[in-house]
Amino acid sequence: MTNLDIEKIRRDFPILNQEINGRSLAYLDNAATTQKPKLVLEAVNEYNHRFNGNPHRGAHYLGVEATRLYEGARTKIKEFINAGSTQEIIFTKNATEALNLIAYAYGMTFLEPGDEIVICISEHHSNLVCWQQVAGVKGAVLKYLYLNDDYTLDFEEIETKITTKTKLVSIAQMSNVLGTIYPVEEIAAYAHSMGAVVVVDAAQSAAHMALDVQALDADFLVFSGHKMLGPMGIGVLYGKKELLGKMPPFLYGGDMIEYVEEQSVSFAELPYKFEAGTQNVEGAVGLAAAVDYLSQIGFDKIQAHERELTKYALERLAQLPYVQVYGPRDLSIRGPVISFTVDGCHPHDTATILDHYGVAVRAGHHCAQPLMNYLEVPATSRASFYLYNTKAEIDNLVEGIKQVRRWLGHGS
């Protein structure tokens, strides 16, 4: 089916090789967080065993080594997303913090009463609540792009909502609930023609597709390490140099300053202006190793494998008349994230019972309550796949769903 040697890949992820409740684990919650390959675990371990020091400070060996590794990680990320300069790569805690940084340092500074912010109804709360706050404080208007019946975005909707009043458009490249991949390149081009700044939330997409911020022409782009095989607590903000340059700092403190006097300060150059305090160096080192791992395999092969899995899962789920799937059918515009409900079974019960059979899925509103309201469902279950998942695990999911029905008294 694909050129990926799955057995070899699975050996790189020791956590996958275990039993839950006497059954082999089927980890299908990759949209929440992914597992880490040995390469990442060992890179973090080696950093802590041999190189830990506070970067950019002191002249001793460990401080210098920590600086080398931290800045090396930055260079690796710059190449990974094809940014123009390492000055445009800011390390953050995660995508959420990066979005907040943009909301505070850009939104709160440059938006004015009556300006419009446009986001999609499927945004994760992290790319929604911060814009509500900016709109509330600045007197701006928050507008939503709504979806077609097939969970895609119509260009007409984009042209209606994004106008010359729009000052900022922020959109997830891939929905964490529906799996829909939105045409961010086209949206960015249109938004730019209206004079708006474009933020791309790549928290879901960064794990599954090659990113090129210059081709997308994104003004800002954010993602989290832990959703792409890296550690938790490290994320990335990309921003165009001219925008980052005119924004005030987000956090104040050490390492982001140039000169500090009793009553005045001048700030450090980019990217350090936005990295106050001691950073998560081991996280950056782990993220760099994750990028290495993904690059060695290649996104073309990863995508082919994921599509095969998604196609198989959609086909198998379609055979169960009591399962409803929320997301596009067209594999070319969707990622490996499948939200579903089981008739007569609440998603939390579904997740608990699937867990009993070793199948890990997420249940709930997936940090997208406005989308749940829009879809008119209180919650869904979500299975999400990655490069190490197998068709056998999807079989376990399908068998598990039949058991869910049985446990909750619906036969199967």
Binding site: H346, P347, H348, D349, H365, M372, P378, W407
Partner: protein
């Protein structure tokens, strides 16, 4: 984790066909309870008179555990005094937190003892206790405003 100990006939029956679901005509104490992380969303309605829970009902959506727990709680507190209901809530929460193990002490909970095993499922504790937390909140507000607490209240 033993699913048999959780998804019992009793719990399934209450979650699917609760006779306590619906509105009261005469509610004088209404409280909404919500689990923001998972979306269980219930509204309790009580008719209180002279400090007695004369009738109770609920509406809302949620998982089998939250719905059944609410329904069983209503069976239990209906006709009891507010003080007794609060004591039952304390006992229920004590059971779920594994602080009360004495079977005799738990007897007062009647059918609600069915949720004892939730103590072993940390992810579902909030579903089981939602109704009881909401009851406590409702009682607190009713006592402050003296709704249904005093004669002719």
């Amino acid at each position: 984790m033993d699913l048999n100990a959780i998804y019992t006939e009793l719990i399934l029956e209450h979650s699917r066909h609760s006779c306590n679901k619906g509105h009261l005509d005469c509610a004088n104490c209404v409280e909404r309870g919500y689990n923001p992380s998972c979306g269980d969303d219930i509204t309790l309605e009580f008719y209180l008179s002279n400090g007695i829970i004369e009738s109770a009902a609920f509406t809302g959506t949620g998982c089998a555990i939250s719905q059944a727990s609410t329904s069983i709680m209503i069976d239990l507190v209906k006709g009891k005094s507010v003080e007794e209901a609060v004591k039952l809530a304390d006992t229920f929460l004590g059971m779920i937190k594994s602080e009360i193990h004495d079977e005799e002490k738990l007897e007062v909970l009647e059918d609600a003892v069915a949720f004892k095993n939730i103590a072993n499922m940390p992810a579902r504790v909030k579903c089981a206790v939602l109704a009881w937390r909401t009851l406590m909140e409702a009682v607190k507000k009713a006592q402050i405003s003296e709704i249904g607490m005093v004669e002719n209240g």
